[in-house]
Symmetry: C2
Subunit: 480 residues, 2 copies
């Protein structure tokens, strides 16, 4: 909005990624630090990305999966948290409570860090018979977790936005099927919409969600060698149902305990997107999430100004389907403007000057790779469409190459250690024992990310860390 | 979701509207009481109405008005509230604070009761020059007001959902123009989408928003003789800008203070909708906000069952654009099903039995007036479309008739008193003095609602309450 003193990004991604990331987020106007420590203002440009994620995902879950949106309260009584013991333990340290003065006569109220407990209290009244199942509900809302660690724009903050789906099923099979279906939808969203490739897999016992039977995850890999958990889908088994007294009269006229899952993605995705694609010039947005797909910059000289502006406006109209920006201001040079829209991550730039008009052409410049394309004005709409499609596809491909080139299959503890030291993803045999995993973290700083979904085959060999029989292949890396 | 013990509405709207309203809200599955006093769970059917309101309104403000959506934090520092004195006074009693333990080293944090203060703090950094104006931002979020009065589903609760628009302008003229534009959009939303007619006008000094220059309002009139303030648009003048240090370098190269407005509608609208249209059988929804525009109920007899089900499914497919429900269950009688879908407020019911099939017909029944229409199957799509349109229009017309028949122009204090006693809206001359208004409330229980927008003509005569010269014509009534 306002012109900043220091416009461009002043630090290189390769030199100080943390400072670079913050500058890109702030200077491209996605977000700003709010006055309350650990919170942020999601500015219109950042929020527009969230809205794209919302509409993409609603379309995938509402009709195809039969999920309905709803809204549950922000405030959760303390006793609800305590009902499912593992869950309570997992969240206790980061719950924010409201002023005791307001609840003098009753129990303490938490500001929701996640909504399992308040939703399942309702479910226990809503579900009576198998006819009420499956029950599939989702909510888009704000979440508060009073982080005591350092916070980071989008990636870790005391308040963030997310969706949380909470479903209940008659059978384990249906429950597991949807749990997997959703993690696959998350992968698709991350890759198709955000061009951000992810590893998909299952969390270990140590890393699974507090209270879940097992957790599936998508993990993106950031250029600083840290994994970013981007979405999780939990098969909750029957433990919450038992704790919250959810039961149903089955087809056999007997009382049964249902199966549940829960799953979520958050505004953290926007942080992953920024880190994955952006460069030393600023933000790079995949065309699918860009609100304005292109900017038209006429090259203005005194004598030909009117003619060029007229043609630029014609082109703006012709390309309206791409929601173009046009910059007719005369105070700044074309070069200054180029930098400005590169900083903002507009996918394509169209330059048009008097000589281009003579040739009935314009120059298209791609934000991701700087490629210049001379295009006849009559073909422009088609070429733009193609180029946006190419850009989306190539951004994903490049990011995939980076991800896979960072995976190292390690066979020994020393190979593992050097992979982690080099900030790679180590793919290793593993015993699965939480105490072994704890030691690995203490020694190397790495945590387990996930076991690939197709990796359930027989593993032969020992866990290179403890020497016990390995049970699984798994990815380890540093992480956010 | 679950079949309830006591299905239907057990009290008449005319006999105990408060109990009737609660039953309609709960039994039609729009909402339920949450465990924390004064909060509610907005169930999928209720939330679907909110989503319709959201998409309708985004479409009106985003492109046409240039308003961008964003998200500001839930937590607001105490010192921000104190910056604008009138505003602080207006909100202080109902602010919920978070646990002091969390902010030991800093100031108290409020859970947002409205976001003027935290947004304008950002604005003071975002706005530098006239080129940054107008700045038009909106957010959809949850709001907390720790009501100590009795709460009521949708109409008054400790947490609710709303949108709040906050814009900044170079000139008073632009600011006032948009302030009015928005209140007119609210009227249109209320009437076109919800079929709920409203009075539109200006609030008195006493009733305007805390900190505003003046407030415009839309006021619906509920069947119990109480007005419901459904949306407000405030011209904030320059007082917030001054308190928060928002200024801009003008076209004249000098520093200026900008003009601001703010405006909001909330989930309260859903309560108004329920009260306005629903009846002793349950919910009545205007077709525009109904997720499922119709339900198909085949009349099943043993011999013709298969044939009828087949035809019913054909019709379901043919009418898919109306997102139809179909009820093929055999455990309940058609009569039972009719009541069930009437309770739920599905706009049209299609009955189809073996005799109808012989005649290539079905029977359409309208939820709002019970009218039955025999329709040829081949014409069905067209007729449904027309009937939905008629229903929407007639619901608004009937509600308008009710509203206007309840307005009484009163010339004296005694006429005024009997109008209020009869739970009507009194339209009266008024001096505008807050102390006179306070007395009227003490004596009659009525509060001023608004001065019609076109009522700025010269008024002759005295204020019938205090005898001073009247300044305006105004509506008074009891209210929520």
């Amino acid at each position: 909005m306002n012109k900043k003193e220091e416009k461009g990004i002043t630090v290189k991604k390769s030199e100080n990624i943390s400072e670079w990331y913050e500058q890109v987020c702030l200077k491209s106007d996605l977000v700003e630090f709010a006055v309350v420590k650990g919170t942020m203002v999601i500015k219109p440009k950042g929020y527009a990305i969230w809205e794209k994620i919302q509409s993409y995902f609603n379309e995938k879950i509402n009709k195809p999966l039969g999920v309905k949106n709803a809204y549950f309260p922000l405030f959760i009584p303390e006793s609800f948290f305590k009902k499912e013991a593992e869950h309570a333990k997992g969240f206790n340290p980061e719950v924010a409570w409201i002023d005791k003065e307001l609840t003098k006569d009753g129990e303490r109220l938490a500001i929701r860090p996640t909504s399992e407990t308040i939703m399942y209290d309702s479910y226990s009244r809503w579900i009576r018979s198998y006819r009420d199942l499956p029950l599939k509900i989702n909510q888009w809302c704000n979440i508060v977790r009073w982080e005591t660690n350092t916070t980071k724009l989008f990636l870790r903050s005391r308040e963030f936005l997310w969706q949380e789906g909470h479903c209940v099923y008659e059978t384990e099979k249906e429950c597991e099927k949807d749990t997997l279906k959703v993690i696959e939808l998350y992968k698709k969203l991350s890759e198709d919409l955000l061009a951000m490739p992810v590893l998909i897999g299952k969390k270990t016992e140590k890393e699974k969600f507090a209270g879940a039977k097992h957790t599936y995850t998508i993990e993106a890999f950031m250029p600083d060698g840290k994994a970013l958990q981007c979405g999780t889908s939990h098969n909750l088994g029957q433990s919450f149902a038992k704790s919250f007294g959810i039961s149903f009269l089955g087809r056999d006229e007997k009382k049964h305990t249902p199966w549940q899952n829960s799953w979520g993605i958050s505004t953290r995705l926007i942080g992953g997107l920024v880190m994955t694609h952006s460069d030393d010039k600023g933000l790079v947005l995949p065309p699918e999430v860009a609100e304005n797909k292109l900017v038209i910059i006429p090259i203005l000289f005194d004598k030909t100004k009117e003619k060029v502006i007229k043609k630029a406006k014609e082109i703006e109209k012709m390309l309206s389907v791409f929601n173009p920006l046009i910059d007719l201001s005369e105070e700044y040079s074309p070069g200054y403007k180029f930098s400005e829209y590169e900083l903002q991550g507009i996918p394509l730039r169209i330059e048009i000057g008097p000589k281009d008009i003579e040739k009935k052409e314009v120059v298209i410049v791609r934000r991701d790779n700087g490629k210049k394309i001379a295009a006849k004005i009559k073909d422009l709409k088609r070429i733009i469409k193609e180029e946006l499609k190419n850009m989306q596809k190539e951004m994903l491909e490049r990011a995939k190459d980076k991800l896979y080139s960072n995976i190292v299959e390690t066979k020994s503890k020393s190979e593992f250690k050097s992979a982690i030291k080099e900030r790679k993803i180590a793919f290793t045999r593993f015993c699965g024992d939480p105490s072994c995993e704890k030691k690995i973290k203490e020694e190397t700083g790495a945590t387990s990310r996930c076991t690939p979904l197709n990796a359930n085959k027989k593993i032969t060999g020992d866990c290179p860390f403890c020497g016990k029989a390995a049970k699984t292949m798994i990815y380890f890396s540093k992480s956010y």
